[in-house]
Structure formats: structure tokens, C-alpha cells
């Protein structure tokens, strides 16, 4: 058993240009089966292009890719039979009802009439769409549409699901609902290949995150590993005058000070003991800060640090 067989997605040296514009400039990605992988990046980084290539919609200019063990270039139909795709633009038929959309999928996957209808009913229930199953989609909200979209993807029980910016444009509640559904899928053993521009989404869902910028992967790791790549957390103190600021800097041995804003940054892990020690030392010197705030690094810092040009 080679290593690629345990990988749902194994990609090396993927390249794609549209005319003169290099969109993907040599991408390597490995996603172990049963995990959630997030491709994180700003608009135009190449996220959607990557998904379009891996889901057989687009041909790469160079590179090798195996999806669920099938070679993307040589056996696209085997790849298609094993994946599901839900993109940022809803892939539902607006002139059909929710049930008709699901049955269409079941028929195209040749589930058989009875089994197909049962699967449709089951998914309508699971996604809270049973009450509106017979209504035209024009009455559906964005969140309902996205849920139906995902339900259609699940009709064939794919082993690997591509979610291309699945929550873009959704309200916070619908976003949380969708995250819950993704977690349930992962519990069932499905592999998720997610793209997102929301750091919180990657942080919430992904086992591994790759940061894509300008067609290259600039960092990869777990959320915790990525957070370690940027300078750590700190306590930020603001003072009312320069004298106090200077005294505090001396007392705390900190040199990250901003004389204009009258602020001082003290490196800290944000824990209770570290905070108390800073406060104790300030008290001992009779220095009082006008304002104190704790800052822990989040993926925002990582994202900005890695993708700034």
C-alpha cells in the first residue's frame, strides 16, 4: 500500500495559467482520507481554480493529481463517481422543486426509483427542508438554497466533498448550521476539501490548513502550528503621559513602545500568572495604566503576515 492510497487527494506540482496570468504556480497538497483540509486565501489566490481542477471541471497545465486513488487526467469518470462538489454559486435547478432537484440527482446516479425517492426524503428531513419540499426554489432563502445544494451533493454518498467557499454570503446563523452539517459528515468518515476566505471557518473545521497566496502555498499546518508562525501574544498597556510610559517600560523591561500612542506591548502568553506579575510590578512602581488589553495571536495575524506583499 503506497502512501497515496490513504490520501483522498494527492497533488504535486499543479500549475494553471489563463493566458499570461499564472493562477496556480506549482501546488502540492495531500489530504489524508477522513480529515478536513482547508485551503485558505484571499480573493484571486487560486482557491476556486484548484477546486475546479480537482473536480474535473478544468484541466491543469502541469502536475499530477490523484483523487480517491484515481488519476485525474486518465480516469475522470472514476473521480466524478467518488466526489461531490458544492460551490459558492448555487448549483440547484431553480425551475424545479426541492424534491425534484434531489430526485434528479438520484436518477443521474442511477439509485433506482424507490431508493432514490427514499434518499431524497431522508435528506429533506435531515436538512430541515421537508416542509418546503414541494415549493418552487424562488421562495427559498440563501441559506435554504445552500442546504439544498449540499443535500444534492450528498445524494450519492460521496467519499470526498469539495466545499468551495460554502458559507460566502450566508448570515451567521446559516453559517453555523452549515458548519454543524460539515462536522456531522466528518463524523461519518467523509473527507472534506474546503476553501474559504474566513479564518474562523478554517479554525473551526479544519484539521489542516494551507494558506494559498498568489498561486503558491505559503504555509501549511494545523491551526495551532500556523499560529506559532507569527509573533506571540502580548499585553498592551496605554498610559496618560510619556513619563508613566517610560517608567513602565523600565519596570517591565519591555522595549516595544509607541511614544505617540503612549502604548507599551509586553510579550505574554495571556495566562493568569503572567498578567498578575505585570500588574504587581506596575503596582510596586506606583504606575497606573489607563487601559489594559490582552492580545492573543489568531489566524488573522497569520493570514496578514503570510499574505502581505
Amino acid at each position: 500500500m503506497t502512501e497515496t492510497n490513504s490520501h483522498a487527494v494527492a497533488v504535486s506540482g499543479l500549475r494553471k495559467s489563463f493566458g499570461d496570468k499564472k493562477v496556480l504556480d506549482g501546488i502540492d497538497v495531500n489530504v489524508p482520507a477522513g480529515t478536513v483540509f482547508a485551503l485558505l486565501g484571499p480573493n484571486g489566490a487560486g482557491k476556486t481554480t484548484t477546486v475546479r481542477i480537482l473536480s474535473t471541471l478544468l484541466r491543469a497545465d502541469a502536475g499530477h493529481a490523484r483523487v480517491n486513488g484515481h488519476d485525474l487526467g486518465q480516469d475522470p469518470d472514476a473521480v466524478r463517481a467518488s466526489i461531490g462538489v458544492t460551490g459558492q454559486f448555487s448549483a440547484v435547478d431553480n425551475l424545479l422543486t426541492a424534491t425534484e432537484n434531489l430526485v434528479l440527482m438520484a436518477d443521474l446516479h442511477h439509485l433506482g426509483r424507490r431508493a432514490g425517492r427514499r434518499r431524497a426524503a431522508e435528506l429533506l428531513d435531515r436538512f430541515g427542508l421537508a416542509d418546503v419540499a414541494g415549493q418552487p426554489l424562488s421562495t427559498f432563502s440563501g441559506g435554504m438554497r445552500r442546504r439544498l445544494d449540499l443535500a444534492m451533493t450528498l445524494v450519492s454518498r460521496p467519499k470526498l466533498i469539495f466545499l468551495d467557499e460554502p458559507t460566502t454570503g450566508l448570515d451567521p446563523r446559516s453559517r453555523r448550521d452549515l458548519w454543524q452539517i460539515v462536522r456531522e459528515l466528518v463524523a461519518d468518515g467523509v473527507t472534506i476539501f474546503l476553501t474559504t476566505q474566513y479564518l474562523e471557518e478554517a479554525d473551526q473545521l479544519a484539521d489542516r490548513i494551507a494558506v494559498l497566496d498568489g498561486g503558491r502555498i505559503v504555509a501549511e499546518g494545523s491551526a495551532a502550528e500556523l499560529k506559532r508562525l507569527v509573533p506571540g501574544g502580548h499585553i498592551r498597556l496605554r498610559f496618560t503621559d510619556a513619563e508613566q510610559l517610560a517608567a513602565a517600560a523600565r519596570a517591565l523591561g519591555a522595549d516595544q513602545l509607541d511614544a505617540d500612542a503612549l502604548t507599551l506591548q509586553v510579550p505574554s502568553d495571556g495566562g493568569q500568572a503572567a498578567l498578575r506579575s505585570v500588574l504587581d510590578r506596575l503596582d510596586a512602581e506606583r504606575i497606573s495604566a489607563a487601559e489594559l488589553s490582552l492580545h492573543t495571536p489568531d489566524l488573522d495575524d497569520v493570514f496578514l503576515a503570510l499574505t502581505s506583499r
Partner: protein, 258 residues
């Protein structure tokens, strides 16, 4: 991978038929155009145009109706271009492409659906022609021949329209491109004999694909001479169908611009 071309085509066709029934305005539109032309040419211009024709063709409506029927076939078929292009703007077609479905199924379902609607709209136009005084006197065999040729022509033009629809960037563009085809019968023998046209135009009218089709249908339904027109009409249909289908399939495989 086992392909299920027929099953997939049937599934796709069910979807297309539902679309047509729920959104019938395109189909109704392709009845309106030819009917208005019929009313205009018979009611307003009929007496003058009829006066310029050799006698014995059952009045101007007898000459005109076969041409209008061909125009109905053309405009019905060409409506497919818009239908295909609109369908491509729906995200669901990208979903189809990521599924293990026969690539032909999506297109052939559109073709079959479009043929069904064109048959319906052409029948409606023929009925209006009969109401206006069109009295074909044809044998059963001649009717079968005429209907057969009309079906073959519909099939050919529909594949061409599918290709137009696939390569058009927007539905507006898709509705403009086939206008040429819809108006081509005008520069043929649909409304007046090609031989009565000025030199140059007359040659074009004689050799363009619609004229032999019109002459054949007219001959079969009203008894005018057909000559080699039947064979030429069928040959044109084969060429148009083969070209249209090849163009359509390669355009669909390549996907859209990106």
C-alpha cells in the same frame, strides 16, 4: 465506467420538459412570429403578391403556407440556442459536469425537448394557415414525406442552435445569432419564387439550404414540381446536423470560456 446514455438522456429530458411547461413563453413566442408573418403576408400583402405569381397554386396562401411552415421550424429550432445558453448560466450544469454522466445526455435531451416543442409550434402555425384558407391536397404518402422532411430539418437546425447557444457568451447574444437563420427563408422561395428575384439574389436564393426544403414541402402538399429538391434538401440537413452536432459536442467538452 459504464455509461448510461439513454437513461441519463431520459432523466435530463424530464427536466427539460418540466422547464418548458413551467416557462412556456419561448415556445409561445416561436408560434407568434410565424403567425404574425402569415397574417401580414396574406391579409395585408396577399393580393398584390399573389397577383405576381403564376396561376393555379391555390391562391397566395397556397404558395406561402409551406414557406411559413419552414419559417416556423426555423424559429422553433433556433429558440434552443437561448434555452441552452440560459441553462448554462445556471450553476447546475457545472454540477452535471462533475458527475459521472454521459456528456451527450445533457445536449441530446435539449435536442429532443426542442424537437417536441418545435413540432407543437409548427402544428399550431399550420393550423392557423388552414384557418386562413390553406387547402393542401396531398396524399397520405405525401404528408408522411413532408412531415418526415420537416422533422429531419428540425433535427439539423436544432443541433446548429445548440452549438450557437453553447458558444454565445450571454442569452442576448444567443438570441441574436440565429436571427440570420430565421430570416434566411425570406431570401429563398418562401414568399416569392427565386427566379423572380434580381440576379445575384436569385442565385443565392436558389442555392441556399432553405429553398430546396421549401420547394419539396410545397410540392408534396400542393402538387408543384419537386425535381431534385427533395434529395438536395435531405443532403443539406445531413450536412447541417453533422456540422452542428460536432461543433456542439466539442464546444460542450471544452466548457465555457475558462
Amino acid at each position: 465506467m459504464k455509461k448510461h446514455t439513454f437513461a441519463d438522456t431520459a432523466t435530463m429530458l424530464r427536466r427539460n420538459v418540466r422547464h418548458t411547461l413551467r416557462y412556456p413563453s419561448m415556445t409561445i413566442g416561436s408560434v407568434f412570429g410565424p403567425v404574425i408573418m402569415l397574417l401580414l403576408f396574406v391579409g395585408v400583402l396577399g393580393r398584390t403578391l399573389g397577383a405576381g405569381l403564376p396561376v393555379g397554386t391555390g391562391g397566395y396562401i397556397g404558395y406561402l403556407a409551406p414557406g411559413i411552415i419552414i419559417t416556423a421550424v426555423a424559429s422553433g429550432s433556433m429558440a434552443t440556442a437561448v434555452a441552452i445558453c440560459v441553462d448554462l448560466t445556471e450553476g447546475i450544469v457545472d454540477r452535471f459536469r462533475t458527475m459521472p454522466i454521459s456528456r451527450v445526455a445533457f445536449l441530446s435531451a435539449h435536442v429532443v425537448n426542442s424537437m417536441l416543442t418545435t413540432v407543437a409550434s409548427t402544428a399550431a402555425v399550420t393550423l392557423v394557415a388552414v384557418l386562413l384558407g390553406f387547402r393542401p391536397h396531398a396524399t397520405a404518402g405525401a404528408w408522411v414525406g413532408a412531415i418526415g422532411l420537416l422533422l429531419v430539418l428540425t433535427f439539423a437546425l436544432t443541433w446548429l442552435a445548440v452549438a450557437f447557444g453553447l458558444v454565445s457568451a450571454t442569452p442576448e447574444a444567443a438570441s441574436n445569432a440565429p436571427m440570420l437563420i430565421v430570416f434566411l427563408p425570406f431570401v429563398g422561395s418562401a414568399f416569392a419564387p427565386a427566379s423572380a428575384m434580381p440576379a445575384g439574389v436569385s442565385q443565392f436564393a436558389e442555392y441556399q439550404p432553405f429553398t430546396p426544403a421549401i420547394e419539396t414541402v410545397r410540392g408534396l402538399l400542393t402538387g408543384t414540381p419537386i425535381g431534385h429538391n427533395g434529395v438536395i434538401a435531405v443532403a443539406w440537413c445531413v450536412v447541417i446536423a453533422a456540422g452542428g452536432a460536432t461543433w456542439a459536442l466539442s464546444a460542450f467538452r471544452q466548457g465555457r470560456a475558462q
